[in-house]
């Protein structure tokens, strides 16, 4: 049977997918697809969509099942062999806690957001690409849970992540970020997540965690990180494709896309402050500093990408120069914030060791030596004198990014940066011009932000009246899940395991 015409890969893919959809006539198309016009994006011809993945389901199943088989074989071996003992130091676990509490929930949110986009677009190619990403994101949520599940059996702070995710002040930062994207229309959603986050900023999120894991002996995280890498490349391709597609379809789309890029660059950058802080402070073995990462991945690569987009009339995102000015400060300011609010944190905090301070001096120079090192040394002194510092009052939080308003003025590292915005006779606080602009563009949206300290004052946090009752409401066990690392059960267990004593110190009230 040699007479059958041979189909090229591209032709075969296009037949397999594209011809499947049709123009509905028994129901109006606008009812079948009610959500893909109201954002104002004009699509003249959905057939101009270039499928970024070109994967039929048979190839998808073939590739993904091979990856998944390998991944779970390694996770099984990791668990069987007490792989948790091979990490560099138990302080490293706090990076994993931050991931589980802050990032894994975003993977599930991404699964839902892409399911929404995968239902909303009337173009079949765009829909299939989003559906595939939706199950990839589900994969990431689930494989992360399966990798971290083992750590949860041996370390604190992870057991209540699902409860914490929806209530803790610092997790409001990632949660509000993603819910902002999901509550936008499908075009803005893919612009924010696929392009701004996964394409432009991906190396500042994915690299620090996965390379951090690799440097610190975390085989479970490293393995799923590498396994997810080819998914991420596909997602980046989707991000670029969707932005180019919108820009090429109609010139009226350009200002809309530009406004989204301005917003999501700043939103993403603010979220990445947490990741940068993790890189600089939580990794016992450092990969690179936040400043170096920013220089490579934004100042070189990110800016070059935006120059490529200038032919469509796209300029660099607003306030990118502010982010660059802040690169020597943001992680130190945020660590100080996490350190002092350690009583309501499902992470441990600590003052870095001397060699780490030296590393920071080398990476951050004069500003670190004059401003941040003395403060860290003072905190260490206080801790050693039995006065470990905690700020037990509630902070003012940015109405947009949800980070306590503790960052400093772009041109003055000694002056707190506060911007006051107003809507419907009510004043709100923002941490920066970037966040204030985002508020002012969509005030109806951002007045809805749930601000944890305000919820506490209103009695909406289980009636908690102070930070300790609030921590209880978060199901955080004092000094076990929270507080100082030195002397914590995690610390003590780690020392016991390292000295080969087979039984860990039991956490007395840890029965469940």
């Amino acid at each position: 049977m040699a007479k059958a015409k041979r189909l090229g890969l591209k032709e075969r893919y296009s037949l397999m997918t594209r011809g499947l959809d049709w123009e509905t006539t028994y129901q109006p198309m606008d009812e079948v697809f009610p959500y893909d016009k109201y954002e104002g994006i004009k699509i003249i011809d959905w057939d101009k969509w270039e499928d970024p993945f070109r994967l039929t389901m048979e190839s998808y199943w073939k590739y993904q099942s091979e990856k998944e088989r390998k991944l779970y074989a390694i996770l099984d071996a990791f668990q069987q062999n007490n792989g948790q003992l091979n990490i560099s130091d138990a302080r490293y676990m706090n990076a994993v806690k931050l991931w589980l509490q802050g990032i894994t929930p975003l993977e599930y949110a991404a699964h839902r957001g892409f399911a929404h986009a995968g239902r909303a677009f009337r173009g079949a190619g765009a829909r299939v690409a989003c559906q595939m990403q939706s199950i990839d994101e589900l994969r990431h949520a689930q494989t992360q849970l399966h990798a971290f599940s083992h750590y949860n059996k041996f370390f604190n702070g992870m057991h209540g992540f699902a409860h914490l995710r929806d209530r803790a002040w610092y997790l409001s930062i990632p949660k509000s970020f993603f819910e902002d994207a999901m509550s936008a229309g499908p075009f803005e959603f893919v612009t924010s997540i696929s392009f701004a986050f996964e394409y432009v900023l991906t190396n500042l999120l994915f690299m620090p965690f996965v390379s951090g894991a690799a440097y610190n002996g975390d085989m479970a995280t490293t393995t799923f990180g590498f396994s997810a890498q080819s998914d991420e490349s596909r997602h980046m391709t989707l991000g670029l494709e969707v932005v180019k597609f919108m820009l090429e379809q109609h010139e009226d789309n350009v200002p809309i896309v530009q406004a989204w890029l301005d917003k999501w660059f700043w939103r993403g950058y603010r979220l990445l402050g947490l990741v940068g802080t993790m890189m600089d402070y939580m990794l016992p073995k450092k990969v690179m500093s936040w400043k170096e990462a920013w220089e490579i991945y934004w100042e070189e690569n990110g800016i070059a990408l935006f120059h490529d987009l200038s032919r469509y009339g796209i300029r660099l995102p607003k306030y990118h120069e502010v982010a660059t000015k802040e690169k020597t400060r943001v992680t130190h300011e945020l660590w100080a914030t996490l350190y002092q609010y350690g009583n309501a944190l499902g992470l441990h905090t600590w003052v870095p060791e001397d060699e780490e301070l030296d590393w920071m001096s080398e990476k951050y120079g004069d500003l670190f030596d004059t401003m941040y090192r003395p403060r860290l040394l003072f905190l260490r002194e206080q801790e050693q004198a039995g006065n470990r510092y905690f700020n037990n009052r509630l902070p003012m939080v940015c109405q947009v990014c949800q980070i306590p308003v503790f960052y400093t003025e772009p041109d003055d590292p000694q002056k707190q940066c506060v911007r006051i915005v107003e809507w419907a006779d009510t004043k709100h606080h923002c941490c920066s011009d970037g966040c204030a602009d985002i508020f002012n563009r969509e005030p109806e949206k951002f007045v809805q932000s749930l601000i944890p300290p305000q919820q506490i004052y209103r009695g909406d946090a289980g009636g908690a009246r102070d930070i300790f009752e609030y921590a209880e409401w978060l199901h955080l066990k004092k000094d076990i899940d929270t507080g100082e690392y030195n002397g914590s059960p995690d610390h003590q267990n780690w020392e016991a395991w390292q000295s080969q004593q087979p039984t860990p110190q039991a956490n007395s009230d840890e029965a469940a």
Partner: protein
């Protein structure tokens, strides 16, 4: 004699995450399925109303009429999370691929009676559009459903239906020696031929159905539950009798898939109906509302597939479906 291996033994501090332990009871080890789906969807403290539907929250239980105390109880008896699902599908696609290659390389479709080949072109190839509608409808459930067990399973079902649409496409191409006009012809039937219009009207109405649980009942129990036995079981058997054993090989995936996916659809519906008489009444109401439409949509296909026996075949299939619904605890 046993081999005595020395390893480090360290006692864990806990067995699983709090929210899993709360559902399982203390000191029980969780399965990977449970850890992969339970508690994954936020319920409280959602920040912004969706701009695409400000009457609801992002994750909103009121997008369906059925009420569950805990939507995490709508579990999948197959215990599919992404890993188990994709590994299973990987094996199936491997076998399916071998079937296609075997049929193509041996020219096994050549010997089939022309009249029956034509029936496949008219009755099976247009079903790729029905599978595409099922993909669309399940992506709706994944997007707007409530709780990770249902959204996770529905998005896997979304991709399964895309896979089925693509496998049907391959059958169409093999029948036509890879001439893509065969697909255009099938699409023309789907769009304009009288025989297909009740079915197209039905799936388009499904695509504007807003209640996601109703859509689950409609798509995954009723439409698939009548269509697959009729067109991939009965019709497949008829083709086999007319020199079409090779054709049946090409449906291996779809036939196996239906038996397996039905277990999920039924279990979710059964659990939901058990929750309350009100839920049960809703589900029974949806079945009563949609069944006549489904029978009407399948009647012309059944008549064309089983000369003179169309009504009998369809009645049998509907009986089977109602037996399934009965086993799920419904009075239908």
């Amino acid at each position: 004699m046993t081999i005595d291996l020395k390893t480090t033994s360290i006692d864990p501090v806990r067995k699983t995450f709090d929210h899993i332990a709360e559902k399982l009871g203390p000191d029980k080890a969780a399965t990977r399925y449970q850890e992969a789906v339970w508690g994954l969807q936020p319920i409280v403290n959602q920040h912004y109303r969706p701009t695409w539907d400000p009457t609801k929250t992002l994750y909103d239980p009121s997008r369906t009429a059925v009420v569950m105390e805990d939507f995490d109880d709508l579990i999948d008896p197959r215990q599919y999370y992404y890993g188990t699902w994709t590994i299973q599908r990987g094996k199936q696609q491997d076998s399916q691929e071998k079937n296609f290659k075997f049929v193509e390389s041996r020219g096994l479709m050549d010997g089939m009676e022309a009249a029956w080949k034509d029936k496949i072109r008219r009755l099976i190839v247009p079903l790729r559009h029905v599978a595409w509608a099922a993909n669309t409808n399940n992506s709706y459930i994944a997007a707007y459903g409530f709780g990770a067990p249902i959204t996770s399973a529905a998005s896997l079902q979304t991709m399964d239906q895309l896979g089925i649409a693509q496998y049907i496409t391959r059958i169409g191409l093999i029948l036509a020696d890879n001439d893509p006009t065969a697909l255009d012809d099938a699409k023309a039937l789907w769009l304009d031929d009288d025989m297909w219009q009740p079915m197209r009207a039905l799936v388009e109405e499904a695509m504007v159905t807003k209640d996601w649980f109703e859509l689950h009942v409609l798509q995954n129990l009723l439409i698939d539950g009548a269509l697959h036995p009729l067109m991939f079981d009965k019709f497949d058997a008829a083709v086999t009798q007319h020199g079409g054993a090779a054709y049946s090989m090409m449906n291996e995936f779809t036939i196996e898939w239906f038996a397996e996916a039905s277990r999920w659809a039924d279990a979710v519906i059964k659990r939901c109906a058990q929750e309350s008489p009100a839920n049960k009444t809703h589900i029974e109401g949806w079945i009563a509302k949609w069944m006549p439409r489904i029978q009407g949509a399948l009647k012309p296909l059944s008549d064309a597939a089983f000369d003179g026996e169309g009504s009998v075949a369809l009645d049998e299939v509907v009986d089977r479906l109602m037996t399934r619904a009965g086993k799920a605890g419904l009075d239908v």
